[in-house]
């Protein structure tokens, strides 16, 4: 229950951090440490060198501009949760963050760190996937912007290369008139999701859904968009039968095997129920915003 031996560096510039990462096999990045430290205490992670980003001023803070919320690598979960401008730009985010562990963990853990850890049942990767957000990865070769759909590959696996540091995540603002909702099923408050669903819904002037976005976590090896359910709902009036059909369409997204938390059949049932409930709530908020 103690970390194995490692070297430690706390550079003051991003360039230094990038050079250290490129120069050391087995080096890992430390931001808030709320996922990495437990892994190290269990010795599931054993970095040769830990590169702490805490002294790099350029990696602090949250900027809301140009229709997006830019969360820098050292911004804590709790900072984003309490950020008034971010909340105005996208109220979905604060609602989801209430489900991310507990306040003392959110005080230290970072949003970008959670995205890079890429637990398939974690909430923030779901949000980035739902909103078609991006991350910005920096290496000696420069910066590249990676869409969420290309970033999360598998359990704890992203398309970030070993030489890259993710310096920022960008969450798009919610479109005017759009409704949102998030629902999660867990055994205990603050746990990772057994299944969770986020939705963004826009209604056209005829009251029919002009846009439906749905994403889930906990049901697959990575956060997934529920494309079949989205397609089943666009253009409909979101009545009970249409929601029922969308819930059934979503069940195909469950690829998680039976585990100690739930069977695959139970997850399919949960996912269908969460889809129905979440779309209905998002639609209700959408109407409210439009009026």
């Amino acid at each position: 229950m103690k970390p194995s031996v490692f070297d430690y560096a706390s550079p003051t510039t991003l360039d230094e951090a990038v050079a250290l990462l490129a120069g050391h096999d087995g080096a890992m990045i430390l931001a808030g440490g709320q996922s990495l430290l437990p892994s190290m205490n269990f010795r599931l992670a054993a970095p040769s060198l830990l590169i702490d980003l805490k002294r790099i001023d350029a990696l602090r803070g949250i900027v809301v501009a140009d229709g997006e919320i830019r969360v820098r690598a050292m911004a804590r979960h709790r900072e984003l949760e309490l950020d008034a401008a971010a909340h105005r730009a996208n109220p979905l985010i604060r609602a989801v963050m209430a489900h991310v562990a507990h306040v003392p963990i959110r005080n230290r853990g970072t949003v970008v760190g959670s995205l890079c850890h890429a637990d398939a049942a974690a909430e923030m990767p779901l949000v980035l996937t739902l909103l078609d957000g991006t991350v910005v990865a920096r290496s000696a070769a420069g910066e590249r912007v990676i869409p969420a759909a290309d970033f999360f590959l598998f359990h704890m696996t992203t398309s970030r290369t070993a030489e890259e540091i993710v310096v920022e995540a960008r969450f798009p603002a919610l479109a005017a008139g759009a409704g949102w909702a998030f629902n999660e099923f867990t055994r205990r408050h603050g746990d990772y999701a057994i299944a969770a669903v986020g939705a963004v819904v826009r209604l056209g002037p005829d009251g029919r859904a002009s846009e439906v976005r749905l994403a889930a976590c906990g049901v697959s090896s990575r956060p997934v968009r529920l494309a079949a359910a989205e397609a089943a709902l666009v253009g409909t009036s979101l009545d009970a039968a249409e929601l029922e059909a969308a819930g059934q369409a979503a069940e195909g997204a469950v690829t998680a095997a039976d585990d100690m938390h739930a069977t695959a059949a139970y997850r399919r049932h949960l996912l269908a129920t969460l889809v129905k409930r979440t779309v209905a709530e998002a639609a209700a908020r959408s109407s409210g915003r439009a009026h």
């Binding site: 229950m1 103690k2 970390p3 194995s4 031996v5 490692f6 070297d7 430690y8 706390s10 430390l30 440490g33 709320q34 430290l37 437990p38 205490n41 269990f42 830990l50 702490d52 805490k54 709790r78 209430a98 562990a101 507990h102 306040v103 003392p104 963990i105 005080n107 230290r108 205990r188 408050h189 603050g190």
Partner: protein, 175 residues
């Protein structure tokens, strides 16, 4: 065959070390520590502040909760080197120097909010932080349960702790 008895064990470690300087309970502290030393172990073993308890060592139980720069944090999920340059407060700083208990501590006593007491330092540090950070305080059942959700107690069944949070708010003039 059993491993041979060593004639002597090393008195010093080969671990990489770093110098840390931080404020603990208002006092300036400087030490050279192994970079893999957890803040919880630093407080207990280097500074002798054994009021910070260590339960699960992976962030679940909340017993090791301290304040880092005014916010509640898990000292078992923080390296001592990460706390360099910060101000840390532990349970030892909560009561007045003359022994007068903090309203949260007094309320735990009044309401029988502890039995074995193992989880109590973490509970108190978490609740004190929320009292300091949140205005107004939400004292609904749901909000108090959420406040306590990151701290496990295996004795009380929580109801007396929920009562203690309400009592503490009364004692602190926050109800």
């Amino acid at each position: 065959m059993s491993p041979r008895i060593k004639q002597s064990i090393p008195l010093t470690s080969d671990d990489p070390t770093a110098r840390v300087a931080l404020t603990v309970n208002g006092e300036r502290v400087e030490r050279t520590v192994s970079v893999r030393m957890l803040l919880s172990d630093f407080l207990r073993h280097e500074l002798g502040l054994t009021g910070t308890h260590v339960g699960c060592e992976h962030g679940v139980c909340g017993c090791c909760t301290v304040q880092i720069d005014g916010s509640a944090a898990r000292s078992c999920l923080t390296l001592a080197v990460q706390a360099d340059g910060t101000s840390v407060k532990t349970i030892e700083s909560v009561a007045q120097p003359d022994g007068t208990l903090h309203p949260v501590q007094q309320a735990f006593q009044d309401c029988h909010g502890l039995q074995c007491g193992f989880c109590t330092p973490g509970m108190v540090m978490n609740i004190v932080s929320r009292f300091e950070e949140e205005t107004p305080l939400d004292l609904s059942d749901e909000a108090i349960r959420e406040m306590l959700s990151g701290n496990l107690c295996r004795c009380t069944g929580y109801l007396n702790i929920i009562a203690a949070v309400r009592r503490a708010a009364e004692l602190a003039g926050r109800a």
